[in-house]
Amino acid sequence: MNNLASLNYFTAEIFLSGFIILLLVMSFLRMDRDNGIGFYYLAGVFGIAVTLILDLAGWGESGDGAILFYGMARNDHLAHLFKFLCVLSSLILMVFSMVSRETNKRFDNPAEYVLLILSSTLGMILMASSSNLLMLYISLELLSLTSYILTGFADREEKTSEAAVKYLLYGGIASGVMLYGFSLLYGVTGTLDYTAMREVLWEHKVSGMVLSISTIMILAGMGFKIAAFPFHAWCPDVYEGAPTPFTAFLSVGSKAAGFVIIVRFFFQIFGAGDGGNFEILGDILDWPMAIAVLSACTMTYGNMAALQQRNIKRLLAYSSIAQAGYVLMAVASRSQPGISSAFFYLCVYFIMNFGAFLAVIIINNELNSEMIEDYEGLVWKSRKGAFLASMLAICLFSLTGVPPFAGFIGKLYLLLSVLAKGSSLYWLAVIAVINTVISFYYYSRILRLMFLSRRLRGADLSKLEKSDYLPYSVMAGLAFLTILLGIYWEPLDGLSRLAATFIK
């Protein structure tokens, strides 16, 4: 489709870019920065909400699988579903930022904060639809660069700066490696476009060696984004150092964006075949097996490392590494149900992980501590404590994958797609369920301190105030969704089936 016609399908992105520029200009003009806090947050929420609506409207009229800008982007269900997820997670990030003490009062420059969030949103939604290596790289960098800054934004202590620098260095190397992979791939296929690349691989024989090396390099770059083992080393430090709302965002939104590029790259280029029968295209290493091994290592490493964490943000960081491992399992199954279940799990993960982080944010506001031992006796402190502890418990049980919570249904989908692949992946399913048990052990440490312990530690909780209504109702909503999707999930199932339709 030519550029002009493509613009019709690009309204959300255009609006968001325009809005970012508008806000940028306004932030220069507006000098009274002290009372501008609420304004910029509200403007940001408005911008994201309109983007979301435009995106949904565009979804309705989209010709499925339309190719935009001469193959730069694809307008299909997968793109829209992930855009939806990413934009929603930005929205949640805005809400969390308003709630958290770390981010809502301290800045003297909220405009920049909001602008950076909006820019990273733009990066994510471009990632979701990009089907060209160049486009992919640019959108990925847009997300990454804004993430580096946001990590170090609330420059309150040493570990924040350390986290930002670490993230920047790791990220720089990872994208360099990935870029090298891109250039190798370009070298053997002569194109950057996914569809064209696939045709080349279909028709010509290309060097398997170069193809494999470039794929591994690209996988490294993408694995960095989703914090898969062994590209995870940045993750715990960054999660610990970054402002908690942004940590939550990194663990959900940015991770979902990472998954969509993995799915697109591997399935659109190498996953050729007819009628759901995916033969591996090209003389390349067995990439599904490589991802399966990666998945097994990621979940096992994440869970093992989480066992010893004492800081709740670090613990959730390692747990999110493990969760990424579970999702990779579905990618490794190399099938349509696999993609659906990956999307399904990411949606569920979105709800439960944001729920867990919101609880951490609120508790952090109250106790002024991120250490797990300060959670001791939380449930007995007051009604507020009982509420927070119960909500966090729901999210943690869901993250473990115990019925009747949504996390269990997500895991069920993942296991279904893996076991449906036949005996070649049984081992992966077994590793996944063993990991489920291990993961309960460290989640239960938090539960044990909050519920089972009879000592009270940490600060006392404040009385319920009017400003508490927003975070508490969001919290209750997320917990309610976690339970609801664990009992009845057919609508979400329908949506996630759409995600796999891009494979014809």
Partner: protein, 499 residues
């Protein structure tokens, strides 16, 4: 009335969880209101279970997987995965539903003295009841699994928050053990679903089309281990003494009285119908494990100093009879095994309640710390003697009938094993009598000269169980008749596999 009759099972299952939300809505300082409403909420399922019992058709013959299943409720749940909300009772689940409905109100009464976090306690308890009921009546494998796990969560908190000194350790041990079992079962559920054509979670369909499943030996063992952890069968029993001892009285009663039966129920419901050929092959293996359970449990019980631990180990021993009975594939053995599940539920509930009564007064459970208290607390002593005599299988009390049936059935197949198992009965008699002697007879320990006898509330919890113990000991047909058609169907299934 029409609605109640046609939705009896879902009402029994879901009234507790709906009630639990009411309990949650009550103000937390109104402890008595919460207690009374919890009691009322658990009595409703009991009444409905009695309606169910009255309406249960005992004569259903016919030999297909769906015959004998009554009060069926089936609704589409998740269409794309062919998951159904499918409930029904047959001769296997009916006694369990009765048992569960009976034990729950008694446990609420036994929890009357819970002071800490009353609201949370009764909320979790009611949630637990829904999980247990649901697991017994679910006929969709997936639904079954959901309920199976729903039991787990409240249990973790009930042991962990309201338990004894080592409650944290006991709770996590219980949860991890059971979680391991469940995830193994989950893998098999998914495997069966994918192997069946068309894909289904319907237990009766899966049983009918079980020839489609491959890797049968692995599946059988996976399921067996998953359920064996719950029973618990040696060597998966180590969570049990910890959990039982640390749990508060009412929760020990639930654990021993109902949760343990979940394991044997699962073996009968899943292993027997879905993998009958493997079950037939592994019969001797199961029987050996059953005998090990009987002897090992009894020996361990004999050497306990803590009264509650003694009762806990006696549970392991008594569940061994169930395993031995169902592994014999004779009508007597199977009937005896299932009847033993019911009887053990009643007897062990009584024993744990009795332990709770004396612990509330003496604040310790050392068997040797008492002595000669029978004249001081005559009513208590009477009930304790009744319960311990039932546990050792005295003729005229209910356990005698089930244990005799088990041994009768097993003897036709495994002569030596049964002979060994019978010595277990002697050890059981030994530790029961020895315990009675040390606590109630002999020289009075002066510390307990003023021990108060049982209160009204405690009597209300204990006497109904005592009545059942005696009645079923004399006239077991009310329960035995329920299960006969199902038992002979199950038995035929396996016997035909052998030929």
């Amino acid at each position: 009335m029409e609605f109640i009759n046609s939705h009896l099972l879902s009402l029994i299952t879901f009234i507790p969880v709906i009630g639990s939300l009411f309990v949650l809505a009550f103000p937390r300082d109104k402890a008595n209101l919460i207690r009374w409403s919890a009691l009322v909420i658990t009595i409703i399922p009991l009444l409905l279970a009695l309606v169910l019992y009255a309406g249960f058709d005992r004569s259903t013959a016919g030999f297909s997987h769906t015959a004998g299943i009554q009060f069926i409720e089936k609704y589409t749940w998740i269409r794309d995965f062919n998951m159904n909300f499918f409930m029904g009772v047959d001769g296997l689940s009916m006694p369990m539903v009765l048992l569960c409905a009976l034990i729950c109100p008694i446990c609420i009464l036994a929890s009357w003295n819970v002071e800490r976090g009353v609201k949370g306690y009764f909320f979790l308890f009611l949630l637990l009841e829904t999980g247990m009921m649901g697991a017994f009546v679910a006929l969709d494998f997936f639904l079954f699994f959901i309920f199976w796990e729903v039991m787990l969560l409240p249990m973790y908190f009930l042991i962990g928050i309201w338990g004894g000194p080592r409650r944290e350790y006991a709770a996590i041990k219980f949860f991890i053990y059971t979680l391991v079992g469940s995830v193994i079962i989950l893998l098999v559920i998914i495997y069966f679903y994918l192997a069946s054509a068309p894909h289904t979670f319907d237990m009766t369909e899966l049983a009918k089309n079980n020839a489609l499943f491959g890797n049968r030996m692995i599946c059988w063992f996976a399921l067996f281990i998953g359920f064996a952890i719950k029973v618990p069968i040696f060597p998966f029993h180590t969570w049990l003494p910890d959990a039982h001892v640390e749990a508060p009285t009412a929760i020990s009663v639930i654990l021993a009285g109902i949760l343990l039966k979940m394991g044997t129920y699962g073996i009968l419901r899943i292993n027997y119908t879905m993998l009958p050929d493997m079950t037939a092959k592994m019969a001797t293996f199961m029987a050996v494990l059953g005998v090990i359970n009987i002897i090992y449990g009894a020996l361990c019980a004999m050497f306990q100093k803590d009264l509650k631990k003694l009762v806990a180990y006696s549970s392991i021993s008594h569940m061994g009879y169930v395993i031995l009975g169902i592994a014999s594939f004779t009508d007597e053995g199977l009937n005896g095994g299932i009847f033993q599940m019911f009887n053990h539920g009643v007897v062990t509930a009584m024993l744990f309640l009795l332990v709770g009564v004396i612990y509330d007064r003496a604040h310790h459970r050392e068997i040797d710390g008492f002595g000669g208290i029978a004249p001081i607390v005559p009513n208590y002593s009477f009930l304790a003697f009744l319960a311990f005599f039932a546990a050792l299988g005295l003729p005229g009390l209910n356990s005698f009938i089930s244990e005799a049936l088990v041994l009768l059935g097993a003897f036709q197949k495994y002569r030596i094993l049964t002979a060994v198992a019978a010595t277990g009965a002697i050890i059981t008699a030994a530790y029961c009598l020895w315990t009675l002697q040390r606590i109630f007879l002999g020289k009075l320990n002066e510390n307990y000269a003023l021990l108060p006898d049982i209160t009204m509330t405690e009597a209300v919890t204990l006497i109904p169980l005592g009545v059942i113990v005696v009645t079923l000991g004399i006239y077991p047909h009310p329960v035995l008749d329920l299960m006969k058609p199902t038992v002979s169907f199950l038995n035929n299934l396996i016997i035909h596999m052998k030929l």
